[in-house]
């Protein structure tokens, strides 16, 4: 691989790379605002200026400038090298680039930073970006001085509603145009643009339009400062109190890699952020997925119930075991769920085969929704393929076939994972001798359950999810189970013990060990890709 020199370090590059991209790949951060690895180059923030040394034997490209001489108390003629934007300049073999080691570059960065803060409001205490703001980070690293302007800053509109999800603050904006380019290039809906010039310019929405395409929250995500804020996250939490878990989005079958940001002090999830993965979602996520984190707390089943009465988890498990004791194989049916992890489904399938001795296995999931060619999949289940893999070897049938068996009286008892049986007319789905439901969220089945067992969500347990491409991805636990809930595989294991046919699942590792030899290659968990600072 060809190399070039950055601060006297040899850096490999691929032909066509810009300086900043080659450095980014080598793990070196050249300070920047407007450049984003997933967007086109704008080169308008000038923060990434670097000094490119002339070829040996050639004079440097110098600019004549006036510099203030403190001794003479006058401006004097001076020369300084012409700096180049690292985000735009293509690397060539042997190029000698100075970044941190050039005093001209340091001075330029300090000047750019001073310019960007000239009209910046004193908003850090009320700004959601505080704590993850480039202006803050770079001020300390590159400027750390006061600005020289004493005039009143230019005032611009604040808290402008761009759409249902985004609020814009023009005073905080540095007009890097990342949001404009994102809408143009990734969301393919050029709804944002820049108006005015100089220190009066600001981002604006196309007349008669709102920022309302399916990827609006990404504009907030790419914003390096606090100009764009999400209505959903505004004033909800301070980022330095949040911790991140590497999860997989549960919104659809794409399986976008995400960070679930949560507050460890009260086990509350606050937001999703995309986690860079070139094989799945690149740098992005859709609004639906970004807001999907809310399901960690919404419509949750957190208490065990027998009939309509709340009870303890162990009492409910005892009752469920009573219901299932002595049922014969053909009279009982087991429902798997594409909303649950492969481990949960696998434990359930094993429960059907080894404990209940039945082959009546049905597959359930959410009904299809809207999809597009960017990220969103019409299949709104995160683990359709993982569920199918877990049922491998069993004659699994779609959930639509279950009512027929119930009506004919062949199936008298049902054990269901998940509560998504929306295609089935509810009244027809009442098994005569019992319905045991292991559910995370309230749904059609939870209301009819004779025994309801609360199952944990993806935020509360590790789990594997297989996306539409067949890629098995591990989702990391953020915090412990909420309420009385437990991971579904653990509930299944508890039932198996009570029924006297122990499946031997004590830890998640036991389930995974049992899964490994049997399921297809695609079901095996792979380590999540390394975390890259996406911008």
């Amino acid at each position: 691989m060809p190399t070039f020199k950055l601060d006297n370090r040899e850096i490999p590059f691929q032909p066509g790379d810009t300086i900043i991209r080659a450095a980014h790949r080598a793990g070196i951060d050249i300070p920047h605002y407007c450049w984003h690895p997933g967007l086109s180059v704008a080169a308008n923030c000038r923060m990434c200026l670097v000094e490119v040394m002339p070829p040996p034997g050639r004079p440097a490209l110098n600019l004549a400038v006036l510099a203030w001489d403190a001794e003479k108390q006058a401006y004097v003629d001076q020369k300084k090298p012409k700096l180049q934007p690292a985000c735009q300049m293509t690397v060539t073999e042997g190029l000698d680039v100075r970044s941190d080691s050039s005093e001209h570059v340091e001075r330029a960065r300090s000047a750019v930073q001073e310019l960007l803060l000239l009209n910046h409001p004193v908003d850090c205490p009320i700004c959601d970006q505080a704590g993850e703001c480039r202006l803050q980070d770079y001020w300390l690293e590159h400027q750390h001085a006061k600005k020289r302007m004493n005039d009143e800053p230019v005032h611009k509109p604040k808290a402008v509603v761009f759409g249902p999800t985004i609020v814009y603050d023009a005073e905080r904006c540095i007009v890097c145009t990342r949001c404009v380019r994102f809408c143009d290039e990734v969301a393919k809906d050029p709804v944002l643009d820049v108006r005015q010039r100089g220190n009066l310019n600001e981002i604006t929405v196309a007349p008669g339009r709102q920022l309302d395409h399916p990827y609006t929250l990404m504009t907030e995500y790419v914003c390096p400062v606090g100009a764009l804020t999400a209505t959903d996250f505004r004033f909800k939490a301070r980022v330095w109190f949040l911790r991140s878990a590497r999860t997989v989005c549960q919104g659809c079958a794409t399986g976008c890699n995400a960070f679930l940001d949560y507050d460890p002090r009260n086990d509350t999830a606050y937001r999703h952020r995309p986690r860079e993965n070139a094989a799945v979602n690149g740098y992005w996520m859709c609004d639906e997925g970004m807001l999907d984190y809310r399901r960690v707390h919404q419509y949750r089943v957190l208490k065990a119930k027998t009939g309509k009465e709340e009870t303890t988890l162990s009492a409910a498990l005892d009752r469920a075991a009573d219901t299932l004791k002595g049922v014969s194989g053909e009279n009982v049916a087991v429902v798997l769920s594409a909303q649950h992890s492969s481990e949960d489904n696998f434990a359930m399938a094993r429960f059907a085969r080894d404990v209940l001795g039945t082959t009546n296995v049905f597959l359930s999931g959410k009904p299809p929704g809207e999809g597009d060619s960017i990220l969103r999949n019409a299949d709104k289940n995160p683990n359709q393929r993982g569920m199918a893999g877990a049922a491998a070897g069993l004659p699994a049938k779609p959930i639509q076939d279950l009512p027929g068996l119930l009506e004919s009286g062949q199936v008298k008892t049902v054990v269901a994972l998940g509560a998504d049986a929306r295609d089935v007319p509810p009244p027809s789905l009442v098994p005569s001798s019992g319905l045991v439901v292991l559910a995370t969220h309230a749904g059609t089945l939870t209301e009819r359950a004779t025994v309801l067992l609360p199952a944990s969500s993806w935020a509360e347990s590790d789990g594997t999810f297989v996306n539409a491409k067949g890629l098995a991805q591990e989702s990391e636990q953020a915090f412990g189970p909420l309420g009385d809930s437990r991971p579904a595989w653990k509930l299944v294991a508890g039932l198996s013990v009570r029924l006297g046919k122990d499946l031997g699942f004590r830890k998640l590792a036991d389930v995974r060990k049992a899964m490994t030899p049997e399921p297809p290659q695609s079901l095996r968990p792979i380590a999540p890709p390394s975390v890259g600072g996406a911008s």
Partner: protein, 404 residues
């Protein structure tokens, strides 16, 4: 040690032939500080002693690992709480050594002046308590009265009499008050008058001298091998003082003597502290004369020192600077450092490890009186049981510093 609550048969009590075991502390009136000393007696002579420390252990070093560097100050205050300012200064110097910064001259004089005042208060307390425990209540009251004058200055300067939390990395929490120099100079004069009176009360007193002279002897070799520093080491005749041997701040530029003892008994330890009060008074006078009336106290480094409130509220740069230092903590470059200063009881060392983040990775303290207290066993073995009181008093064990 044998069990302390042994059940003796009534028959044995008639002619007790076994050595008697006596518990001094952890809550004994003559033990200022919670430390337990179990002594084995033959008659009134101590044949064996077991000093057990740790009653005031609070996990100081571990606590330091969860806040910012600045948030360590309240903890170091509570190490040697008789002279907390010396701990503040010592910790500041350790952090600054790692950062490679030096505070402005005005701050150096200010730190020295406050530090020496703290040393005076430390020695006044130790010698006063020692006299009181031997029955001389008046000198104690007079010395504590003098200490209160010093604490008045501390209160005026820092807002707190005891735990000041006044040091900062790169400077001090506030510049000297307008009247600091005059008050400090006048106060040390008053303290010296008290010392003079105390000397006249005690040094001609046969009982007092008999209880101290030749009691609790420690040779120079023993003191060194025990790791002793400070007044206890100097009382044994070793003229080691960090301020002279490895001058920091402006100690190289001021005139003062290092008093040493000759025999290393309790009396020498008492007298070394009395003499050191006089030397500290000299240093305070010189600091007050040489400290500028105006000029910066804190270094001009926005990565380390907080901006003024005016700046924080009115400019974005000030807000960012404040935010970064408060929320993330000032960043000290990755590495490790050992920095040591002369505190009230001797060499106070800080061994710091930084991983480059805003939170200390490790804060290890070398508490001088932990090592001094470790010698108590040797000092009192072979002495009379009544000698435990002056011996222990002369070592000036401070629970907070010893047990951490």
């Amino acid at each position: 040690m044998e069990p302390l609550d042994q059940d003796l048969d009534a028959a044995e009590i008639e002619l007790p032939a076994d050595p008697m075991i006596v518990n001094m502390g952890p809550a004994h009136p003559a033990m200022h500080g919670t430390v337990r000393t179990v002594v084995e007696l033959t008659g009134e002579t101590i044949t064996k002693a077991d000093v057990q420390v740790g009653y005031l252990h609070r996990g100081f070093e571990k606590m330091c690992e969860r806040g910012t560097w600045t948030q360590v100050y309240p903890y170091v205050d509570r190490c040697n709480y008789i002279s907390p300012m010396l701990n503040n200064v010592g910790f500041s110097l350790a952090c600054e050594k790692m950062l490679g910064i030096t505070v402005p001259e005005r701050c150096q004089w200010y730190r020295m002046a406050l530090g020496e005042l703290a040393r005076i208060s430390d020695h006044l307390t130790c010698d006063g308590a020692m006299a009181m425990e031997l029955g001389a209540f008046t000198p104690f009251l007079w010395m504590i009265k003098a200490r209160d004058l010093i604490w008045d200055i501390m209160e005026e300067e820092t807002g707190a009499r005891l735990t000041h939390s006044f040091g900062r990395v790169g400077g001090m929490a506030a510049p000297p008050t307008d009247g600091f120099k005059e008050t400090a100079k006048a106060t040390v004069d008053q303290v010296l008058r008290v010392i003079d009176e105390v000397e006249r009360l005690l040094l001609g007193n046969r009982i007092f001298l008999d209880r101290l002279e030749g009691v609790g002897l420690v040779s120079a070799e023993d003191a060194i091998s025990l790791g002793w520093t400070g007044p206890c080491l100097r009382a044994s005749g070793v003229p080691y003082d960090v301020r002279k041997a490895h001058p920091y701040l402006k100690y190289g530029d001021v005139e003062f003597e290092v008093p040493v003892g000759s025999t290393g008994d309790c009396f020498d330890r008492f007298m070394v502290r009395i003499e050191e009060i006089k030397q500290s008074a000299r240093i305070v006078q010189q600091c007050c004369e040489r400290m500028a009336d105006s000029g910066p106290v804190n270094v001009d480094d926005p990565r380390v020192v907080l901006p003024s409130k005016e700046e924080v509220y009115k400019t974005i740069e000030g807000t960012i600077r404040h935010f970064k230092i408060v929320m993330e903590g000032l960043k000290i470059p990755a590495g490790e450092v050992y920095s040591y200063t002369e505190a009230g009881n001797g060499e106070l060392g800080f061994y710091l490890v930084s991983d480059g983040s805003g939170t200390p990775y490790r804060v290890r303290i070398r508490p001088p009186c932990f090592l001094v207290t470790s010698g108590l066993e040797r000092v009192i073995t072979g002495q009379m049981v009544a000698d435990v009181v002056p011996c222990f008093g002369s070592l000036n064990m401070i629970g907070g510093e010893c047990d951490r």
